[in-house]
Amino acid sequence: MYNHVVYSLAKSGSNGLTLDIANENPQCTMLHSYFSKRWHINDDWNRLTVNYHKKDDYQPPTNNMLNLDYNENIKLTKIRDQQTAIKLDSLKQFSKNNNFVLFCSVSYIDLHILHFFQNDPRTKIYLIERNIGDVFISLYINTYIQWNITRPVDSVQRPKKVFEKNSITIEKFFFDDFTTRYKKYIKFRDRINFAKVIQYEDYKFKNSDYLHEWNNRKLDYIQNKKEVVEFLMQLVKAINVIDF
């Protein structure tokens, strides 16, 4: 019996891979998005519930914090770290008597989480990778253009976002956010011993909803294409030069 953990950058098919692994391992409890925001922690560690609980909703780690002053930012970071620690502790307790499948996003993984996973002989970690241009564009569209449909929201009241062809300009903050996220992804990826590395483009998802072929025409929506391509080239090159 093993625990199964999926690690990825973002928009790399981690939901689909996690679901497939869960279906292949019915003895495991699927703790979907455990470290992000969906799971409510009970006092009884053996009954981690699957229901969304607003009070457990975490503050997104970056964007909402951009407009805060330094002290506010530190305070929020502390709260988030505490929440992550509580969740990690509950997972440790839970795993004493249960096996689980989950994905651990780049935004929430830290050394404590990594240490727990890597030192648990019952845990297998998988990496799913996807074309970085696809990830970048999909992440931007998903986060800032198309409403995040994985989060339960009131469909009537949710904000309407406009997505017209050739109307998007990727703003500077997103380059910075992505750089932070990518550096963190690389930092942890290089410390993890993976049971398997999977290419999104080669993997056959059991649920076809998760397979989206590299639609490079998505770039057509972006006004500052050259800037995006240049940024990604320089980012990958800079990280490669520094870390490899």
């Binding site: 990496l127 696809d134 050259k226 490669n240």
Partner: protein, 152 residues
């Protein structure tokens, strides 16, 4: 149809040697230089249909006289060309350019033809074939080496 700006620096280790150089796109000659006699910044504007394309760089007219060998057979002086700072649509490709080039030559007629990786220097008469696809931005995004080699 996409308009693509291409630029690179063409240099020689010996400008007195009459090394020739040409560029073709899909077999159509774009530039033909009889003698690379000075550092030559090359700028091209090409029109490319969607799909695969071959950009070929050919060095010609190198002779045995352009290479000086000592009594031990070691090359002490040689004339060769170099391509550097390759830009596609104003984006410097760096290693992506080299990785998508193949160097076809036959050691100036002294050996069987070979196809080898290209590292920037053109030491033998022959052709470097650079393969790319239009639209160029999409091709670059698909080509960025985002994976660590030991995971491939």
């Amino acid at each position: 149809m996409e308009q693509i700006d291409i630029s690179f620096d063409l240099t020689s280790t010996d400008y007195s040697a009459e090394l020739g150089f040409s560029v073709t796109l899909d077999e159509k000659t774009i530039i033909d230089i009889l003698h690379v006699d000075k550092e030559t910044p090359v700028t091209l504007k090409i029109e490319a249909d969607d799909g695969d394309h071959e950009l070929k760089f050919t060095m010609k007219n190198k002779t045995a006289n352009h290479t000086t060998v000592d009594e031990n057979g070691q090359v002490v002086k040689d004339a060769y060309l170099n391509i550097s700072n390759f830009y596609l649509k104003n984006i410097k490709l760096g290693d992506i350019f080299l990785e998508h080039c193949k160097y076809h030559h036959d050691f100036n007629g002294s050996q069987d033809p070979v196809v080898v990786p290209f590292y920037g220097d053109i030491g033998c008469n022959g052709t470097i074939v650079f393969l790319f696809r239009s639209p160029a931005y999409y091709w670059i995004l698909e080509t960025i080496p985002y994976r660590k080699s030991n995971y491939v």
